[in-house]
Symmetry: C4
Subunit: 387 residues, 4 copies
Amino acid sequence: MSFFIGRDREARRAYGFDEVAIVPGMMTVDPEDTNTETVIGPLKFKIPFVASAMDGTVDVKFAVAMGKLGGLAVLNLEGLHTRYESPEEAYSEIAKATPESAPKILQKIYSQPIQESLISRRIQEIKKGGAAAAVSCVPKNAAHFGAVAAKAGADVLVVQGTVATARYESSRGKPLDLGRLCKELKIPVIIGNVVTHTAALELMETGCAGILVGVGPGAACTSRGVLGIGVPQITSTVDCAAARDYFFKKTGRYVSIITDGGMTNSGDVCKAFTAGADLVMMGSTFARAKEAPGRGYHWGMAMPDRYLPRGTRIHVGTTSTLEEILFGPATQEEGLQNFVGALRTCMGYVGARTIRELQLAEIIIAPEIKHEGKLFQQAQRVGMGKK
Amino acid sequence: MSFFIGRDREARRAYGFDEVAIVPGMMTVDPEDTNTETVIGPLKFKIPFVASAMDGTVDVKFAVAMGKLGGLAVLNLEGLHTRYESPEEAYSEIAKATPESAPKILQKIYSQPIQESLISRRIQEIKKGGAAAAVSCVPKNAAHFGAVAAKAGADVLVVQGTVATARYESSRGKPLDLGRLCKELKIPVIIGNVVTHTAALELMETGCAGILVGVGPGAACTSRGVLGIGVPQITSTVDCAAARDYFFKKTGRYVSIITDGGMTNSGDVCKAFTAGADLVMMGSTFARAKEAPGRGYHWGMAMPDRYLPRGTRIHVGTTSTLEEILFGPATQEEGLQNFVGALRTCMGYVGARTIRELQLAEIIIAPEIKHEGKLFQQAQRVGMGKK
Amino acid sequence: MSFFIGRDREARRAYGFDEVAIVPGMMTVDPEDTNTETVIGPLKFKIPFVASAMDGTVDVKFAVAMGKLGGLAVLNLEGLHTRYESPEEAYSEIAKATPESAPKILQKIYSQPIQESLISRRIQEIKKGGAAAAVSCVPKNAAHFGAVAAKAGADVLVVQGTVATARYESSRGKPLDLGRLCKELKIPVIIGNVVTHTAALELMETGCAGILVGVGPGAACTSRGVLGIGVPQITSTVDCAAARDYFFKKTGRYVSIITDGGMTNSGDVCKAFTAGADLVMMGSTFARAKEAPGRGYHWGMAMPDRYLPRGTRIHVGTTSTLEEILFGPATQEEGLQNFVGALRTCMGYVGARTIRELQLAEIIIAPEIKHEGKLFQQAQRVGMGKK
Amino acid sequence: MSFFIGRDREARRAYGFDEVAIVPGMMTVDPEDTNTETVIGPLKFKIPFVASAMDGTVDVKFAVAMGKLGGLAVLNLEGLHTRYESPEEAYSEIAKATPESAPKILQKIYSQPIQESLISRRIQEIKKGGAAAAVSCVPKNAAHFGAVAAKAGADVLVVQGTVATARYESSRGKPLDLGRLCKELKIPVIIGNVVTHTAALELMETGCAGILVGVGPGAACTSRGVLGIGVPQITSTVDCAAARDYFFKKTGRYVSIITDGGMTNSGDVCKAFTAGADLVMMGSTFARAKEAPGRGYHWGMAMPDRYLPRGTRIHVGTTSTLEEILFGPATQEEGLQNFVGALRTCMGYVGARTIRELQLAEIIIAPEIKHEGKLFQQAQRVGMGKK
């Protein structure tokens, strides 16, 4: 929907998770009868959840655990596990740092060079554990690290930058040829992040198996605050899902949409699928798992960026096992546990038996702005658990 | 009103209590001349208020008091009163629990089996007290418990799940046949909850006497936060009321609309009627009554749900008698007392002599977002009582 | 602008002070050259400010001071000054009451009967002080008190209820005939409150000289919270001003629009005039004056209402003289002082030389919702005084 | 976009920084390849940043530092530097004042008369330092001070009032003739502030080289709160940029748009350029520099205004060098450092190689209103640095 924001200048209205809700269906089904399977290229997953490539969240052990539970975890090829043979000490140092010293300690720890041999070793460790090995790197390392990883038996390569486009221009050397990468590597490639229909379509044409959707989805995001850049996540997911459907009609190839970022609870996750996602990727949610290596902390991508600082360490706490986070039981009502159960219950209430049916459910715009006169009452009622 | 939330995807804008207000009429009438009567099927009520089936709110004594004052209270057939001959001790244990221990204590107390004989006894106790006996259960218990209750003399059966539809599919046995239930039971059946026009119409066709409107009405609701599901309550009430009017034109049968949930004060209640409600159902408001058994606490439905946890205990305090809550006098200006008086004053100001005339009053969209620059002034002014 | 809030149901979008701003003009004028005069029927006022009939704000001394400064203050005929020959002690008792005891003390003090002779005396005292005497009462007392007041030399009668309509029906005796009242009293009559175009037009046809605009303007208002009733103040002022202009075209009689309520600072006051007001009425703003009798407190209408409680005592503090509140200098930037100066500066910036020219200035919708990510920065910046 | 805000009355919807975001491009470029040059009339600047004429921010030393870094700083001709030969003591007194005593101390310090000879001396000092000398004064001093400044070698004159229009009427003497001023002075003149298309066009016709855009951009602004006047900054920038483009088509002369006010971090700055700005002017951001003379404080324009008080002293702290503020590195993620780096990164992500290409990037409406149910989670997540 476009509005004039000034003379001769139109802008679309975009929507975020907190502005929409899912409408119950005309018929309902038993959650036990729902199916949460999804695919990325040739790979099938029992649950449509991906743990993002953050060192505080994913290590080999976590990736194996996630694989056994039916999902996927992405290991960061530019993180601690390829810089240190045994990163235990680094994790310990990060967890012990004071808030003031954390940025410098992170900087120091990540200045250690990446060892190529460790890329292979980590992948083999995950494979030996019985899980699919998904690994990630930034575009400029993708050609080289991708080849090493594929050779080592990786199942998925994730090429991830803040904003990805099929066309990138630089006077500092030839940029990554995504089409060639997807063609030469024999494994599925996921590219991100992207938020617009046209950019998504161009990426799909490179031959990738999936795209990560999400740039500055929320107002508290760094991209939005520092660069002014971002698109609320419901609209970007809808737009990229429309690109997927268009591309599928045209080519017969189904490129998976992975909504990445901005989701804070299981309600947001359900909305992401209703908006068109095939999978969701989350970081801090999984950093709360007992299996996560971060000891209750997580932090951003490790690559130092001259312009855009990343890497603030966040304390999220360790709340429960990964299995409890995914399958419950939930002991509170905040939607931070039992994500799969919540998803299946939601599917039941909208009458969707599969994720693709859930993508067709009705969304309603429901911002629910509270009157200030009621805020003092609200304070008491937060978490009240009304139906 | 539909807006595009992304490419090829439209969504309606829905409205909640805090986004609308009632417009005064071109003529006004004396509140003393207004009539608040309403019906559910063949039953008449002097005041259009229903206490919801929460154990913290309704026991036999409360149901009798509510009936004498002209309204209706629903007793939970799956709650303490059918699990314990004398539930006093259970109430005491719940009230004494610490916030941390409450969930587990609730779980333990509600693991006691339901005794069928107690269903009959509670109904007879309410009837003996001179009030209409309304009882509730979940769909899967409705056929059996409904028959027991009807036989014991119940006046109304409420069949309540988070989301109710006429069509429900499960591979785990045959689901409840609502049409058959309504036909076989000789008493009026109320079904809920529902929020859409089409689902409401299908439920009306089953032969029910009333429907409960409300799923995830507010952003702080569990359904919204955990499942992403919900429709703001003004829009759902308007939509279901339109279904009622359509169904009445087509069949001559008037199915009552009972708005359930999301109302925090008498202003919200007046808005619910203006949106089309025939009655309103409230839980925490009545839990504050001296007659309520919860001792200042209330808690959700007792049925444990594998996917969606319920039952957080909320402290609401005990503020006044049920009569004061309904008929005043109000000693403060927050709209938490004198609900009937407020309703009649509202009717007077819009010139409505009956609830059905009030349903025709004009609604205006009035979100009243405060500037942050004024928030510090606001803090002092909350409850200031300006006209 | 109408939107569908549900099936077959439209609602207009209304706007409040915090959602709009005034657009500077294509040309500007020197504030010294602006003229703030206004009229109510045959009466002229140098400044378009009216102090509302609240006992905490207006007594004889205050009314005289306000008159000398060019504005108007309304004395409550049902307040302390007609119940007590010397209300000093009552004021003292109210100021000394604890927050808990205040409601009961107010109730007791206002249970004293009204003495008709004091009506005349107060009016004569104001007249003797050299100011116009404006007095107010509720509709049911208007015929009788109005006659007494007019005989005593009152200049203006204000007939004020929460919602006023030309047509009011009651089985409890014949209601006030506003047309007859306006005709029989030889003084201008102001009627209120009203918020809609049609109700305003019908009131104008009764022969009144002015109408008070404002019912439940804000979300924190009692009418809105308790009754659900209200219209944001910009829209109600625009609607009633349109009625005034239509009525003037049709009859040649100019009925003044007095915006009453919801204004918290001089910015809101300027917006009210831009929306079409001829005068503004304020209570708490003037209660802060050293001349106000309330000793830093003010409280609502004294008439007890069985359904709608009023009269919470609010502490506003005593900040400065009435002259400073009206004419400055302002020592802070919150717009709570120098209302006339702010109005004239505003007129200068939009290029309006008179109040009626200001009514033609451009309004823009400018809600300025702050991102939560910036709120912590905002806290520091409140009152920062950026242009 | 216009909406009816009441009967027969339309109002445009305006947008502020917090309601929009920038959409990433279909292609991206290397930030190293972007060019941030901009012009004001014949003058070229390497970076499009201007420090506003506030005494807490700009003195001679600061102006020289800013010039060397490629930007521009404006010295206030009515401030401390033209009232005191050596203003050190005045700065010290202001910094030491208690919050309560600050307004009076500011008033006293600024009551010292302006010495014409100091105008020339300050300009020569800046020129000697190797930077462009930009100076500012209010309209009534512009003819005289402008001539003195031009003679002393000033490069830019800024004529700044709260609201500037080409036409200003006053009975108190002949107002400034802007056309004549621009013609007679041989140096570029910048005029402000302005927010509408028509007023901007009329100012451009006077012959000025740039206009300052911004009146009451935010709800916390003094102009908005005290006078009700203001236009959100995205809309005013778009409107004035459209005037610039129209005027350029018509006359071939390019008048620079300088967005002034309301920007709190680098994200807002990027949005201002995307909305059409050629440069941005900031005060408090630069007051945080070690080079700023205010010692961690800044305060408004010094000219006392009878109607509109200014001059509240604000504590912003001293955070880093001007070079760090402009070019980083940023040590946190709040967008208060490395403004040029953020701008170039943003340009890269939207695929803009120049500021004028950035002006063509897509804007999206993205208010991102948070649900109250999530606010407690938000508190922990502020500054979390999610992509």
